[in-house]
């Protein structure tokens, strides 16, 4: 059983997704319990695999017993063991959180929503676990297709936003496939480890250079890197709250994981640093993404849309961190993937609670929230401080490593961009805190005396508990960042 754990991580949600329309017929709550149990077992197997990786090193799992490079191989090293726990754990928290929100927003579609939800998680887990570039493409499309569907069932305007995402996402996936095809022409292999052995002899070849460019541009579309981010804000703003809580933290981060995999596993690190100096380009694209994301976030009046632009800036952090291209900055990038999943999850969880209580998600809807929902807002303050980067929350430590790496590499513009974006985040979130403290903003234009309710109306427990867990996780990751780095991330950093 234990040696089958890597396969079970992916197979359990896949099979359970197929079965969930049947299970959902039994009763109203059965579907919800089914999803939670599925993801809980997936998370347990992910933890078992992580423990195996930490004690025994890299785990190889051969699908159906076929030897690589012919068969499909699952390879789990420290980087994707961490990602597996992250994806399955985040999905489990979202599933726990989803109950009331889905019942309110999609009353007659709960069963189908959960089916697609599980397929989405299957896609993410498959992308992360596989050691085969074509298999990765298939899972990328599974995740994207499920994502299109999840977004399209959102509020008014969601189908159009989803349509734009379909068009751009398909171009991204096709570019990735084309890159894989070019690599296959010159090497005849699709296995990542095999490619990594075969490619160095061919680094001069134009085909390999073109393949690398196609792979990176395709992934940049999927991760919403700045000039290619146009699909993201509309799609995640208009998606149902639960769907955006699942997609927003994971889709972009999983794409960044794939980028790291391609740059540092399939290709040797020196290829992207010396032979084809894409890291320099990535550094500048990252800086531009940070500035653009931060400035556009300032202009938003819709809370979820503001968060979307924060994600654009955060993607800039990570791409720029890879662009700095020294061990400390890449350590910071990997730690930031971990932190950013947790932080973005927290932000979108709060956005979901806002949507649940106010039926909309403008910044002004936060009025008197500190009185109405003290616990939710306490959690929100912690998440906001983490995004700003205040110690001891986790956001501080990854920014610290990113800045330290950038200073060592002399990439001062990146340091400026990071600090600028942190300051903008201070403005963004303290503006919301101010709105949240307006208890007696009575006399409005019509002269009505808005008696803001003085009673505490907390969010339902099923939404509140996951939000509080996320807030606690943020502080725990911050406090225990050293063991996490020494135990996992240190081994995931490529040897430059």
């Amino acid at each position: 059983m234990i040696e089958q754990a890597p396969a079970l991580i992916v197979i359990i949600p896949l099979l359970c997704a197929v079965l969930s329309p049947l299970v959902g017929r039994i009763g109203k709550n059965v579907g919800y319990v089914w999803v939670v149990l599925t993801l809980a077992s997936s998370t347990i197997f992910a933890f078992i695999t992580l423990k195996q990786v930490i004690t025994h090193g890299v785990v190889h799992y051969r699908m159906g017993g076929w030897l690589p490079p012919w068969g499909i191989e699952y390879v789990i090293d420290h980087l994707n063991a961490m990602m597996l726990v992250l994806v399955s754990g985040a999905a489990l928290l979202v599933a726990l959180y989803s109950k009331r929100s889905v019942e309110q927003e999609l009353p007659d579609k709960t069963v189908y929503f959960y089916t697609v939800f599980l397929l989405q998680v299957t896609g993410f887990l498959g992308i992360v676990i596989t050691g085969d570039v074509f298999n990765l493409y298939v899972f990328l499309e599974v995740a994207s297709l499920a994502g299109y569907a999840l977004i399209a069932i959102g509020e008014k305007g969601a189908p159009l936003a989803s349509f734009r995402y379909v068009v751009l996402g398909t171009v991204g996936a096709c570019f990735y496939l084309l890159g894989v095809g070019y690599l296959y022409i010159v090497t005849g292999s699709l296995n990542m480890a095999d490619l990594s052995n075969l490619l160095p002899a061919l680094y001069g070849s134009k085909v390999v250079l073109v393949a690398f460019a196609f792979l990176l541009v395709g992934l940049a579309l999927k991760m919403a890197l700045f000039p290619l981010h146009v699909w993201l804000p509309d799609a995640y703003t208009k998606a149902p709250s639960t769907a955006s809580a699942l997609l927003a933290p994971l889709m972009t981060k999983v794409a960044i994981y794939v980028m790291l995999r391609i740059m540092f596993t399939v290709f040797k690190p020196y290829f992207s640093i010396e032979i084809l100096p894409v890291t320099d380009i990535m550094l500048w694209v990252g800086i531009i993404a940070i500035f653009a994301g931060a400035i556009m976030a300032l202009a938003q009046v819709d809370f979820k849309r503001m968060l979307c632009y924060i994600i654009v800036a955060e993607v800039g952090y990570m791409v720029g961190g890879v662009g700095v291209a020294n061990a400390i900055a890449i350590k910071g990038t990997i730690l930031h993937i971990l932190n950013d999943v947790v932080m973005t999850l927290g932000l979108f969880a709060v956005a979901g609670i806002l949507t649940y209580t106010m039926r909309q998600h403008d910044l002004s809807d936060f009025k008197a929230f500190f009185k109405k929902m003290p616990i939710t807002m306490a959690a929100f303050v912690i998440v906001a401080l983490a995004i700003i980067g205040v110690p001891p929350t986790c956001g501080f430590f990854s920014k610290w490593y990113l800045i330290q790496g950038a200073v060592m590499a002399g990439a001062w513009s990146y340091v400026v961009a990071l600090l600028f974006s942190s300051l903008v985040n201070v403005i963004l979130f303290f503006r919301i805190f101010e709105i949240g403290y307006e208890f007696h903003a009575s006399h409005d234009a019509h002269g009505f005396d808005h008696e803001v309710s003085q009673v505490i109306q907390e969010a339902p427990l099923s939404m509140l508990i996951p939000t509080v867990i996320i807030a606690v996780l943020i502080i725990m990751i911050g406090l225990y960042n050293q063991p996490i780095i020494a135990g996992i991330i240190q081994h995931a950093v490529p040897k430059l």
């Binding site: 074509f134 499309e141 297709l145 569907a149 399209a152 159009l160 068009v167 171009v171 296959y184």
Partner: protein, 132 residues
């Protein structure tokens, strides 16, 4: 120059098809035409993959001599020339990619139906006007 174009004609065709698809995705205002463009774009990649498998004067990778149990021993002695058989792997990969394409097409068309229900039109300009 002509020699160069003719010798790599499969690549030229796939790139031209891909650009036709790309043009339709960018320039057409009708959402269904955008989807058609998207499909042409994907089909071009399939043609590209399949054409890479081709070898001149090669046949399907089926070993005729190894039929039945008795012939197994005989077949093992025969030398199998790789150049006589086309590469089956790109075809197999493209079967998967076609499935992905069909799924994308289905999802995209379903979404377009939802868009039509919301705005009563499939013209992007009119939809943008309706939003404003």
């Amino acid at each position: 120059m002509l020699e160069f174009i003719i010798s790599k004609y499969n690549f030229w065709i796939y790139i031209i098809l891909m650009m036709i698809g790309f043009y339709a995705m960018i320039a057409k205002t009708n959402l269904v035409k955008k989807i058609i463009g998207m499909n042409i774009f994907q089909t071009a990649i399939i043609l590209f993959f399949v054409s890479t498998a081709y070898k001149s004067d090669a046949t399907l990778p089926i070993l005729l001599n190894s039929q039945g149990h008795g012939a197994g021993h005989h077949a093992a002695e025969q030398v199998i020339e790789v150049s006589q058989y086309i590469n089956p792997l790109p075809h197999v990969l493209m079967l998967t990619a076609i499935v992905v394409m069909v799924a994308t097409l289905g999802v995209a068309l379903a979404i377009v139906i939802r868009v039509y229900r919301d705005y009563g039109t499939l013209n992007e300009d009119e939809i943008i006007k309706a939003i404003k």
